[in-house]
Symmetry: C2
């Protein structure tokens, strides 16, 4: 075990070690889930001593919450100027996230977060923030006259966000990982498919 020395007062924390631990936490959570998540296992995976982890985080709940905040990013607000552009960007971000190295952790969060002490509340905040951002895309589209006033935000977002998740989960492994090109192509055509519905609705 390599132990990181406790920093003297005023000395900045070692960002590299912070990130290594956070990466290990996200990776472990993604691979095994909360039930197998422990400070010890994270320290082992990060190649640091347990003390190095406890120096930074008080317990495993705090570690996971902070690690997700630090390393997982979030679906960023998109505002390309058109509703189609925004939704294509959203689908690409979701496909990239779900099929990337932190994809397992992202998918797991959706089903486990509500049962993890300390994370449940924060997860609801994150989820609400993303839902609000996605709703803003639709609202701007309505304001610009691109979408009808009565567009169902729920249906549109269930179709768009759920479709991206379903696509990431059902690509047969035999086909190999989705390339960036395949994701961009899917995102454009799938968004056009869903928008057709909104634009020709009753």
């Amino acid at each position: 075990m390599t132990a990181t020395p406790r920093p003297s007062p005023g000395r900045p924390r070692d960002d590299q070690v912070d990130h290594r631990i956070a990466d290990a936490a996200v990776e472990l959570f993604g691979r095994k889930g909360w039930a197998s998540f422990s400070i010890e296992a994270v320290a082992r995976l990060a190649g640091v001593g347990k003390a190095s982890v406890y120096l930074r985080w008080r317990n495993k709940e705090e570690l996971l919450v902070e690690a997700l905040k630090l390393r997982m990013g979030r679906i960023s607000d998109v505002d390309t100027g058109t509703v189609r552009g925004d939704l294509v960007e959203l689908v690409q971000q979701l496909l990239t996230l779900y099929t990337g190295e932190r994809g397992q952790a992202a998918l797991r969060l959706g089903i486990e977060a509500r049962g993890i002490p300390g994370l449940a509340e924060r997860y609801e905040d994150m989820a609400q923030a993303q839902i609000l951002a996605a709703r803003a895309i639709v609202r701007r589209g309505i304001r610009r006259g691109e979408l009808p006033e009565n567009t169902s935000v729920t249906f549109l977002l269930d179709a768009v966000c759920g479709g991206a998740m379903n696509h990431a989960l059902t690509v047969p492994p035999a086909l190999g990982p989705l390339t960036a090109e395949a994701m961009a192509d899917y995102a454009e055509h799938f968004v056009d498919f869903v928008l057709t519905s909104v634009l020709s609705g009753p």
Copy 2:
């Protein structure tokens, strides 16, 4: 620990105990995932001795695969006579599954199955069977003239199946569980939303 006596040759296995163990296996997998899945934990949850489990299943891989087969059911083939009816039924089945007591296990399978020895292959078979059943719904719709020839089966199913999953995952817990009535209502209107796209497509 209560131990079930080994049945004498020719004596039928005790179905009640089989089901109790299978229920416990599905519940444990749903709550904690594969990384925490063990014969011991399943036996404890089922209130039987480890020997009772080993009497029936050789190892934990076999136990989980069989338990899922026995207790999880599958999205059954639907053939109501119309493509709209079939898709509404499919969305209702998915919402019922994901929000029901075995919902966690079903959602987990989607992200964990490919990493579980012995289950990965069986899961691909199950997933393929369901994809084929869903594709059959769309093909029948095309044959009956309800859907255009060039309908994208992938887009339609990503939107419909993904939408149901997204809806189940994003209902705020504050609203309480989805009622059967709310699921039926959502299924009808969401399917109409997606079908509008197919029917007015280019």
